[in-house]
Symmetry: C2
Subunit: 130 residues, 2 copies
């Protein structure tokens, strides 16, 4: 895994409200670009750019079918968000936390409620200080 410049990460991708709407729309069904953009007040090109950002973050996947490009949602990257969030849940959860983690154990794999809960941002965290 040395490739993938990954210019945009999940956090950035979902920061924009239009992009969240896009994701929501695509979660219901896959769609072609023009169809998608008919749901938004901005130009098709603008929508297309947003889609590319989502794509770079791995949140959508495109598939060319004839002259159209279908986009479908790809939820996996959201797990990163989830695990980031998991760290902070302890600040408002207290009661049934342990049980929940236990139940959920099968999902995260590296989330074993074992040690002192490592830091959240150790994900890829380029921390690009420009």
């Amino acid at each position: 895994m040395s490739a993938s410049p990954a210019k945009h990460d999940v956090f950035q991708a979902i920061a924009d409200p239009t992009r969240r709407k896009l994701l929501e729309l695509l979660s219901e069904q896959e769609m072609a670009v023009t169809t998608i953009s008919s749901h938004f007040p901005i130009s098709r090109t603008a929508v297309s750019k947003h889609l590319r950002i989502l794509s770079e973050a791995g949140l959508v996947k495109e598939q060319k079918i004839g002259r159209e490009t279908r986009y479908r949602m790809q939820p996996e990257p959201l797990r990163e968000l989830q695990s980031w969030l998991a760290y902070y849940e302890r600040f408002w959860e207290n009661k049934l936390h342990a049980l929940k983690r236990l139940v959920e154990g099968e999902a995260s794999s590296n989330d074993q409620l074992s040690g002192p809960r490592l830091a959240p941002d150790n994900h890829r965290s380029t921390t690009k200080q420009s």
Copy 2:
């Protein structure tokens, strides 16, 4: 509830890696600005700006003590993220989903696993199309 222009929301606030680090740091203990910025390679002023953005999103709270300003983390706004994410969990969860939701029920209040799961972005979603 007519006040609070809330220029920055949670999604935007956590989009920046530095801000996430900031949050992580402050989750351990409250700290004054200069102390905080000693942990970062950027200027104190820059850190201060990030703190203000976090503050606008409600993720940190400041308290003036003499000549210094202490910042502490405020996890509540992350619930919005959590509930946003909850919508998408159904796309990768399937097995123990119901149980988990049930266990967690006491935390979310509007998250009763009842109806057809309303749309995620209905939160405040200014959807500011600039």
